[in-house]
């Protein structure tokens, strides 16, 4: 979210004032729910339903977090989500980068067809796949395993699309020189192409990790024990049935815990991320 432009609308004082008013409104509307989640999670029981709503707790406490970890297998769910997220991200980066290299930089029969088929899956509603995938994995006894949560998700069309754009931008001369030096195609890919396209890799990493961390429907189907259940599926059980009687502070604490890893991951890679998006063919 770095490079900014000259002020188009904001040249006059009036325009600038209007822009600032709008920015404050936007910040309030988008920030307030997140802030409310944080504030409620550290409120003692007596303050949760205070009227009018209090944005600053009188006596902040971490007891909701204690209750959350005591009553639910949060650590197990958390660990499962982390393992699934990291494995999916690493696998997707590897598979997508390997596929994007020839699509971006080599000429071979079948290239157009493969490109077309891969990008058509952009528009595929994945929910279509879940019945056959479940039946297939079930017949190999692979349902309710880490395998079913990671491997099927790793052929990711978006990653290939994004990395193809990045790989095309690397000058031809570099590749010719590297291959001339006896580096080989894989050597060029590994030692030159990948290091040069870090913003692209970071962008794919963010998208993949966040998507995996937040993935809901497939893990809902493909897991049926706390041993493999991921955070989104586990947390959903908090609100159904028994969860309705749960204290809002505990629910909000669960929300904070679930959001922390992706928020930190995003904030850490944010710089790369926006450069990554800006460098794709997505732009106008």
């Amino acid at each position: 979210m770095q490079d900014q432009r000259s002020n188009r609308a904001g040249k006059s004082l009036g325009g600038r004032t209007l822009a600032y008013v709008l920015m404050i409104v936007v910040t309030a509307l988008w920030g307030a729910p997140i802030l409310w989640m944080l504030v409620t999670s550290i409120k003692p029981e007596s303050e949760i339903y205070a009227y009018p709503p209090a944005w600053i707790p009188d006596a902040p406490t971490l007891e909701a977090y204690g209750a959350l970890f005591q009553r639910f297998p949060m650590l197990t769910w958390f660990r499962n989500s982390a393992v699934v997220g990291i494995l999916t991200t690493v696998l997707t980066l590897a598979v997508d980068a390997l596929a994007a290299y020839p699509l971006a930089r080599m000429q071979f029969p079948g290239r157009r067809v493969i490109m077309g088929v891969i990008f058509a899956t952009f528009l595929l509603p994945y929910e279509l796949l879940f019945v056959p995938l479940f039946l297939g994995l079930n017949s190999y006894g692979l349902v309710d395993s880490i395998f079913s949560l990671t491997v099927p998700a790793s052929a990711n069309a978006f990653g290939v699309f994004l990395l193809t754009q990045f790989f095309q931008a690397v000058p031809r001369e570099l590749e010719d020189a590297a291959i001339m030096d006896g580096c080989g195609r894989f050597g060029f890919f590994w030692r030159i192409l990948l290091p040069l396209t870090k913003p692209g890799l970071a962008t794919v990493a963010i998208f993949t990790f966040v998507a995996s961390w937040n993935n809901f429907f497939w893990p809902l189907i493909a897991t049926n024990s706390d041993e493999t259940r991921t955070l989104p599926v586990g947390l959903a059980t908090l609100v159904g049935g028994a969860g309705m009687s749960m204290k809002q502070s505990v629910l909000m604490a669960s929300a904070v815990v679930a959001t922390l890893p992706t928020a930190l991951f995003f904030l850490a890679l944010q710089r790369h991320f926006v450069r990554g998006i800006a460098a794709t063919g997505i732009k106008g």
Binding site: M1, Q2, Q4, R5, S6, N7, R8, A9, A19, Y20, L22, M23, V26, T27, W30, A32, P33, I34, W36, Y49, P52, L98, A99, P102, M106, Q107, L124, P125, L128, L129, V131, P132, P152, S154, A155, F161, R172, R185, F189, F216, I221, P232, L235, A236, V239, L251, M252, A255, T259, A263, F266, L267, V274, I277, A278, T280, G281, I282, K283, G284
Partner: protein, 309 residues
């Protein structure tokens, strides 16, 4: 996505040159290309292509997990289209798409334009708007489920301060879907904003300056410069918004479980219920194929429309 088709001229010239180097080099390159592609292709075939074909096959079969599958033609399709719940699901999902599509595109563009200006604080505001992107659907559901609570929710509290009577939101069949739509906009408009921001940063400054010199006002510059140059981004954003709208499930599942009175029961929940709670794989696969056809028709119609404008 247009840039995929149009390669830079320099590259194609280089390619033509390399193509003349002879068959040995070319077949070496083909072998190398497919070696690099093979892990992706293997996963793609196993977990994307075959399941898609299998889904279509299963939609023509009677299959209740235990027994052997049996071909029954279009019976599954007849069954789901005779099921009032499926028709309700289609109607509800369409309503959700209707409620979200235009605001998500318009607001996405408006936010991008607001935050594309060179003003102090835009970076911060962009981060705030983008933050909901990293929040998972269960959490979004838990959080907004409370914000929309009739008695203790913040939404009603602030509405009453401006004189609006409390609304039962998630408990009222008339308001449940709009509440889900508002949640979805808060949660995902940032993706559209980012795509528009990237596109806006690509529009040359000189173009705007030249137009200003020629006496064009801000509105004219928007209509005659910005909008036409945003067309590819606009097409992508609209397609993704509509397709994702048809795929809605998690929020409805967590916030309302499809209720009240099935007012938020959507197509994907129908698939979930049919396949994984009633174990009727055939009708569930048929519902999946219907979902695919609907998104296909909408994407094609949208592409036609974008070309016409």
């Amino acid at each position: 996505m247009t840039s995929l088709a149009s390669q830079p001229a320099g590259r194609s010239r280089a390619r033509r040159a390399s193509a003349q180097e002879g068959g040995a080099v070319r077949s070496g390159m083909t072998l190398a290309a497919y070696l690099f592609l093979s892990p992706y292709l293997a996963l793609f075939i196993a977990f994307m292509l075959l399941p898609t074909l299998a889904a279509m096959g299963i939609s023509f079969m009677r299959w209740d997990i235990l027994g052997a599958p049996e071909f029954i033609g279009l019976d599954n399709y007849r069954q789901i289209f005779a099921d009032p719940l499926f028709l309700t699901a289609i109607r509800n999902t369409f309503y959700f798409v209707f409620l979200t599509a235009i605001p998500m595109v318009v607001l996405g563009l408006a936010l991008a334009m607001l935050l594309d200006q060179k003003l102090k604080g835009t970076t911060f505001v962009r981060t705030v708007v983008f933050l909901p992107y990293v929040v998972m659907v269960s959490t979004v559901g838990i959080l907004w489920g409370w914000l929309f609570d009739k008695g203790t929710g913040l939404v009603n509290y602030y509405l009453t301060t401006i004189g609006i009577e409390p609304i039962a939101w998630l408990k009222d069949p008339h308001w449940s879907m709009p509440a889900l739509a508002i949640t979805a906009i808060w949660w995902t408009v940032n993706t559209n904003m980012i795509i528009f921001l990237a596109a806006l940063q690509d529009i040359s400054e000189e173009l705007h300056d030249a137009a200003t010199l020629d006496g064009a006002g801000p509105w004219q510059r928007f209509v005659y410069i910005t909008l036409p140059l945003l067309r590819p981004a606009m097409a992508l954003v609209t397609a993704l918004t509509i397709i994702n709208g048809w795929r809605v499930f998690g929020q409805a599942y967590v916030m309302t479980q499809g209720g009240p009175e099935a007012s938020t029961f959507v197509i994907v929940q129908y698939i979930y219920l049919t396949a994984f709670q009633n174990f009727e794989m055939g009708p569930a696969a048929a519902a999946g194929v219907v979902l695919l056809l609907i998104t296909l028709v909408f994407s094609l119609a949208q592409m036609k429309l974008m070309k016409a404008i």
